[in-house]
Symmetry: C2
Subunit: 375 residues, 2 copies
Amino acid sequence: MNTYQRRREAVRVWMKQEGIALAVIEDFEAKRDPALRWLSGHPMDALLFLSAEGGSLLVPWDVILAEKIAPDSLVENIVPFTTFDRDAAAAIAGAIQHFGVEKGAAIELPSATTYPAFCRLRDTLAGYTLLCREDGLSNMIKAGRAQKDEGEIAIYRQVSAITNTLMSLIEMGVKAGTLQTETDVALFIEREARSHGCEGTGFGTLCAGPQRSFGIHCFPSYTNGPFATTGLSILDFGLVYQGYTSDVTMTFARGPFSARQKEMLSLVIEAAALGVGTVKPGIRCGDVGKVVNIFFTSHGFSMPHGLGHGIGLEAHEAPFLVAKNDNTWTLKPGMIVTVEPGLYENGEGGCRLENDVLVTENGNEVLTDSRIVWL
Amino acid sequence: MNTYQRRREAVRVWMKQEGIALAVIEDFEAKRDPALRWLSGHPMDALLFLSAEGGSLLVPWDVILAEKIAPDSLVENIVPFTTFDRDAAAAIAGAIQHFGVEKGAAIELPSATTYPAFCRLRDTLAGYTLLCREDGLSNMIKAGRAQKDEGEIAIYRQVSAITNTLMSLIEMGVKAGTLQTETDVALFIEREARSHGCEGTGFGTLCAGPQRSFGIHCFPSYTNGPFATTGLSILDFGLVYQGYTSDVTMTFARGPFSARQKEMLSLVIEAAALGVGTVKPGIRCGDVGKVVNIFFTSHGFSMPHGLGHGIGLEAHEAPFLVAKNDNTWTLKPGMIVTVEPGLYENGEGGCRLENDVLVTENGNEVLTDSRIVWL
């Protein structure tokens, strides 16, 4: 049994416990769901159906791509989406027929199903019990994806090493003057990513010189403007290796600094160490976020975003290190999260330091070596 | 009244007709909705509330960014998302209070609201009439966005001109041998886009040499592999200017060709002319798609995707030139659509030709000059 089969089997065991006959996974442009790739190896644009009785059915938009990839995943059946007139409801009806799902049986839809789509399906699939829950199948898969297995951790060691190499090359290029603009840096990453065997970047690289670094996520993501001139510049990027993305943020700091900038820099450095030191199995994810929030508040600052998040097939996935009352997640060995404290002010610019941290049996291991680069 | 105010006023007139007291627009990472930018100028990561009685409230994730942009859009009120603990439900409750929306009044949510989120809101906002409809507010805004106004058409003339320039530069670079790999081409586009004043690219550039061009959307989007070597190579890209994206596809064809490749090339060239010739006001969008489907079928081929789609603040938006029974859209002057017939075969590779077409009062105007590049 390969990795994909093992994962599908775990879902099936869960489905039987929950009394679900058919599970629907859907990834299209309107709503991405990496559960598709996690369970089938097929990267995008498809429906995947799992029957509790065994057997899987992949309905891809691009059947040629699916047939090239499917041998690895051992998905039992592939039927082109065109067979169903590229209509998701028709494909679900087709899967019901394919697996012989009986009337009255429970079918679980993705939790991202919109309210109008759910109402339409309830009408067209009258006689079946349709489920669409945040604490159901989607959450079960989220929890599975959050705790990386050995193969995934091995991938993370590789993508972290490549990310670390690139960070050093970027620091060198900026110091040597070969990388001068935001675009220089962003395109250097795109090219080096591919020459190091990566699929690409995990999200639009955020590269902001001192004039634009006030933005939590700068807009546009990078421009022709200068990078790493006097003041605070932010570089936030991730590399994708075999589907999995890293996510790091460096701050490039060139003096002279204002007193406020010095304070922001030293607080962020301290907060990063504090946050990483808090990461260990058993701690509630909200509490990790809370520790850093309290630290900033005690110094008269506040951070406008969460402390960190899981990484994997998505750049932002469970668990989230966010101090919210409804955050019920707890850190477990195998989870990989970012820790990324940041402070931003109009006029002063922004400062963020982000590393990727693997939760181990006893504590944690920092996989990346992002840093403040002093110029 | 500026453009954003005019658009918001049109929404308010519609809200009064429909008896809706409060409209909710939401754009976050989990579900993008360019209606936010279209109505407020704020590019991303925020909630926007419109009251039928007048007044708008923007709740941005990044309040510094919003305050830098808001003066243009004249949004009346800005309250940071952190005020509501970065919780959308709490922000909606806050907006109800802000505008003094009375119990029993109708509140319309985005049609992309998930079924579980809708059910939770129905509980927490008991006493209000919550609407979430595909044919409601979201559709009204989609229709408004689909028909470009004069300012938007002027932007499209500019982004089309830049796109045309880049296509010529790429053809030149490929012929001169300075652009040799998929990455060379993709990064050339990223750099030139910005040096021509664009925000960036409208989607991950799809650049596939002959070994990978079988994919409708190649995966990964570009690699270190060779581009434009013997066979069929596809380049599909868009440039974003002031928020609006172009979308073109060139096929680079280097002989000698197989008989099948020759047939695919000539059919796609004919289909592109046929499709563009069909675009005019009053025709049903499904019928434009059907004409080309019938053409391919009569020659023993079939196209695995729709013929085209609207472009604007999104790379794929209404109307869709797709031959489906539930496609009720009709072309109107001011709409800008792609026409992009394509054929793909394992072994032969793929071939697609895509241009952007403005629907005029009497027919159409082709804005871009994408072409088959013969090498």
